[in-house]
Amino acid sequence: MKDFVQFVFNGLSLGSIYALLALGFVVIFKATEVVNFAHGSILALGAYAISRFSFNSHIEFYLAVLLGVAIAALLAFVIERGLVRTMAGRSVIAVSIMTIGVDLIVRTETTRRIGVDVLTLGDPWRDGIVHVAGLTVPTARVWAIVTALVILAAFFAWFKFSSFGVAMRASAEDSETASLMGIRMGRISAVAWVLAGALAAVAGVFLTAFPSAGLDASTGDVALRAFPAAILGGLDSTGGAVVGGLIIGVAEVLTAGYQSDLTVLGRGFDQVMPYVVMVAVLLVRPTGLFGTREATRV
């Protein structure tokens, strides 16, 4: 039982990182209907920048994070302005595939720069541990949950109450009408990409911090694991991204933790589990847990 609680808690902390990534997928999808395949390489580049700032330039960790997040956001902004925007009006699948080209370039360059090293980001939590009710929890993961909660709460408040949030929701609802109402779609799209880039870099901090060992060339691949999380919650639902992230995190950790009891499925099933959970949910609710149901009017 104690193991179970420990696994669930680990799953939730991993899930909160997935939630940040899933939210990135969701805001971009809401604003532009594009699936961003370059999410993982933006994450890796942001984490790489943070590591370089905090080690080579000896900048205070939190400042380095801010700078790294800014760089990831800037990259996302450049992708949006330079490429996504010039493809306006084209099939969203084409734009999504275009991001694969971006991913290839950014990933190759980041891999080249990381080289043989395993980079650490210089976070102050190091391998600290917190004991809560008999559970041992890495300090970094506690901060992951706290940070995710704060960011997500701030995001929801902003999304709900600011005029910009209203504009964004309107554009997601019906972009044509929204633009007729005077909402500047270009700006919505740019802000969405910048946000997603920043979220990816923040997720990168926690993905490379303890209990992971640091940033290596394959860190960015984790972003794809947030894919089913975004879908599970409903791709156009920001709240869904959070719930989806948590569910996927818990499902994954439980499958990995109890693999000795699940040998029927074959070992290493934790990679598949997120998709199984997702498909099961989609069979009941075809647009995810909180996704807008498509109503067809004739």
């Binding site: 290839l104 370039i105 190759t108 074959g266 598949v272």
Partner: protein
Amino acid sequence: MSEVAVSSLESAAGAAVAGGRGRSGRRTLVARVGVVVLVALVPLALGTIDTEGQDFWLQAGVFAFAAMIAALGLTLLVGGAGQLSLAHSFFVAIGAYAYTYLSSATRGTGTTIASSIQGGFGLPTPVAMVGAVLIAGLAGLLFSPISSRLRGIYLGVASLGLVFVGLHVAFNAQKVSGGFNGRDVPDFNLLGFAFDTSPLSVLGVGFTRNSKLWYLGLACVVLAYVYYVNVLEGRPGRALRCLRDSEVAASVLGVNVVRYKAYAFTLSSMYAGLGGVILALAYHHIVPDTFGLGLTVSFLAMIVIGGLGSPGGALVGALFVTALPLLLAKYSDSLPFLAPTGSGGVTAAVAAQFIYGAAVILLLVFEPGGVAALARRVPRLASRLRRSPHSSTQKEAA
């Protein structure tokens, strides 16, 4: 049910392509036959130009043919019926493994230890090929309760799950797949003619295994293409297009939405299966890692780069995505101003990746119609130059 539809279409195959078209139709037909003949001559030409390096070109060609067949299936599904699938590499894997399993010798009859662990049915290879295509189709049909329920990106990511399930099974079902290390693919043998490494010489021209496979692959591409055009021009094609544009309108017009969605998924999976068989033959030994996320995304890239929904585009896109990275990897050493291999700078290998990534981006940003449109533009420009003195002929042609 879709099997019935398929067989009824089969009988109609061939006729519709040639017939019922005007002069321009006949002209494009002639052009297409010309392309096929040219491609068929490539192995002969290579044999005389570059004997040492010819196997690379032939093998790359067979890989491209396999990709073309599978890409036709995907463009039918995505471009034709509007269903986004990220499971294509799964169905390609089904085709590849099914062919291998069906045609391999039954357990214990082989000479190596591996063959005593891995089973098989020992069927004649053409039967195994047809069987593989049918099994891939069946897998697509079994997925149709899900595929007909979901739409757009939801369907895409749900189908992506199949790729991970497939990999997991391929790693664990050692008796069928050979596990991580994969298993050998039996050589194709058509009525006594073996597509293997045994030397073959016709009229003084030597044929290697890859040049034999070149013709098998080409034949399958032609077949797949002709069949595709027939499907799209017939009743099912109209129904699928209608489905893509509006499901509601389609159902009002009497199109059975669920059935046609299942039909599209099944047919597309059968294309993937045939592509998988050719791919397996080209590899000669298949490992699960081949059929991962990278392959599935590159199929999507093929049909988008080629121009969504156009069969010609799928062929050109498949060629582009298969061949360009290979050519870059092979010739990147010749690029100037690069850091030497092994150093930390921008080496030839890194530059090759940059160029490929940039090519994908530039093509998609600046050429909405894909490679196919780019290719069309060149002859159009040439003919415009040719025709400009006689504007009357231009009118006539239009």
